[in-house]
Amino acid sequence: MNKSALGLSQWERALTQFCANRFAVVCLIILALIHGAAIFADFLAPYSFSNEDRTFSYAPPSKIHFIDENGQWRAPFIYGRKITFDQYHKREYLDQVEQKYSLRFFVKGDAYKILWMVPCSWHLFGVKEGGRIYLCGADSRGRDLFSRLLHGARISLSIGIVGVLISFSIGLLVGGIAGYYGGKVDDILMRVCEMFMLFPGFYLLLALRAVVPASFTSVQVYVSIIIILSFIGWASLARVIRGMCLSLKEREYVLAAKTMGLSDLTIIIRHILPHTLSYSLIAVMLSIPGYILAESSLSLIGLGIQDPYASWGNLLSEAMGIVKIKFAPWILLPGFFILVTVMCFNIVGDALRDALDPKSS
């Protein structure tokens, strides 16, 4: 139905316009890469998220060398390192020239399952037994930060996406019902929405988190955090959708659907809500960062994902002590990951809005 004079549908036109925004396309590619890396984290990371070696606590990033101590070129390798303490008991890692570990590709390491199904132990790169490679340095327990960042991406990104999907389903449904029925139903539902919106989000987050029992396993905590986040986010969307439904329900095709005897719920879900699709799509893109940030802040103050599992916020919580940042600045890296991801989502969301909703720009 949406064919314009050019013979392009609304979506085709939006796609063309989106692609014209090079910056947004680059961001979309970055997002795809980050998500891909998260899915194949097991393979891309040299170690599992819990593989630790406490003798390498806060070991700085491994330097990859191409020239050995005699000035000879050779395949990339790293030196073995030994911990020493200076007179102030500050850790220092010294390169052991006699220990060389060449960088190898497709090495066997920690066992995992590809896509949680096929057992496998191949990793993209690594060094042979005895050496440890830290691309981004190590954390307090000598775990590889690079591996943990990739594994953390899984949790941080999935919480964002799943959380948004759940809360948007609630928001769409509540908004649709309130807008369609109007009257008392509308009044009550909207008062409930306002109630949620009158809470400063973070306070509600903390209050809800208090309900989660301490005896929960990590997976249960993960699920409950998703539920909590969805619980907070739906209200504002419901209000907007309700406003749209108020006008949509007056359209003739709704009357037609009613005359044909469709049930109210079918009309709402099949005929009214699809018209809010472009708005919802934009809203989804622009609210995912909020979920990622909420999870990060919760994990940051120790109420989110628990060690040994990694999420970006939980990794960053190690940087809460200023002294640690001073001696191991690489523990700030998860913050940059959050920043880049959030920025990409914002830019892609904005570009999507320009493409789908030309009126707003």
Binding site: L198, K326, P329, L332, G335, N346
Partner: protein, 321 residues
């Protein structure tokens, strides 16, 4: 005006009630209660605990507990903090003020920086200055406040020209009031800046949009045509009309501001409501949790109301009856 304010307050009352009910239900759903840990404390006799349970009617049905709490609140008795061992009101009072200071300073910072930036970007539209501001805004908009705070804390710890946390210096009591003012200002700087960065990015973009829209209006053309200096056109004729829509946003901003402030209070150990809320949640101090979240909501409602009143004062076209 007064009638409008009253009406607003009365309509929020049922919402507050509903919220308090939700909060109460949540707190009752939390596994374990504070008395469990009190019972394990050998310094507290079972009689004391029994007395507290009687006092708060914790042995009565839930509905009775809720209403006894509610009637107490109406008498401004917020209950007793088991964690701090003083009435909740005494704990919260100072904390609200601290959160207010942090939010207020950050609000001033946000508006003070974002508005001039937005104007500048609109005037130099699509020039280098505008592009630079737009790019920086995107970065600012997307940077998590807690991360900014950590970076700031790190740089400050290297240079040492700002205190690293808390609210007062150790010798705060020795200062006169000017010294105290600047001491608090130095302490609030890091959390306030971290809190502002993202909002500056957002507000700047909106300000630029508004300004561009207003600058395209015909009355601006008229003003220019009758030979007014450009400065006057922009700062008197355009600016006032461009700022008005932002004041409505001010109300919305309060919610984000309070939430953001809570997290930064925890990171920068600023003794505000948010930091208190965390301690209360961790120690399952239910009366403190309920009172703190209720106060957070009250702050939010007040903020929204204030923004609406401000809008009426500044925009003669809007009248509330």
């Amino acid at each position: 005006m007064l009638r409008y304010i009253l009406k607003r307050l009365i309509t929020t009352l049922p919402l507050l009630l509903g919220m308090s009910l939700i909060l109460f239900a949540l707190m009752k759903m939390t596994p374990g209660n504070y008395f469990d840990s009190l019972k394990l404390n050998p310094q507290i006799s079972p009689e004391t605990i029994d007395r507290y349970i009687k006092l708060y009617q914790l042995d009565k049905p839930l509905l009775v507990q809720y209403f006894s709490w509610l009637t107490n609140i109406l008498h401004l008795e917020f209950g007793y903090s088991f964690f701090y061992n003083i009435p909740v009101a005494n704990v919260i009072g100072g904390r609200i003020w601290n959160t207010f200071i942090l939010s207020f300073v950050s609000l001033i910072l946000t508006w003070g920086v974002a508005i001039p930036l937005g104007i500048c970007a609109a005037i130099y539209r699509n020039k280098f200055a505008d592009r630079l501001i737009q790019f920086l805004s995107y970065v600012a908009l997307s940077s998590p406040s807690f991360f900014i705070a950590m970076l700031l804390l790190y740089f400050v710890s290297q240079s040492g020209f700002l205190p690293l946390g808390g609210m007062h210096s150790a010798n705060y009591e020795e200062f006169n009031w000017i010294g105290r003012f600047f001491d608090v200002l130095r302490h609030v700087a890091i959390p306030a800046i971290a809190l502002s960065i993202a909002s500056i990015g957002a507000l700047q973009r909106i300000m630029r949009g508004n300004m561009l829209e207003v600058l395209g209006q015909q009355y601006i053309l008229t003003a220019r045509a009758k030979g007014l200096p450009e400065q006057r056109v922009i700062y008197v004729h355009a600016l006032r009309n461009a700022i008005n829509p932002l004041i409505t946003l001010l109300g919305y901003e309060f919610s984000g501001l309070l939430s953001g402030a809570a997290l930064l209070e925890i990171i920068c150990s600023w003794p505000g409501l948010g930091a208190l809320m965390l301690t209360a949640v961790q120690s399952k101090d239910i009366y403190l949790v309920m009172a703190t979240s209720l106060m957070g909501s009250v702050l939010l409602i007040m903020g929204n109301l204030l923004a609406d009143i401000l809008l009426v004062r500044l925009d003669p076209r809007i009248r509330y009856e």
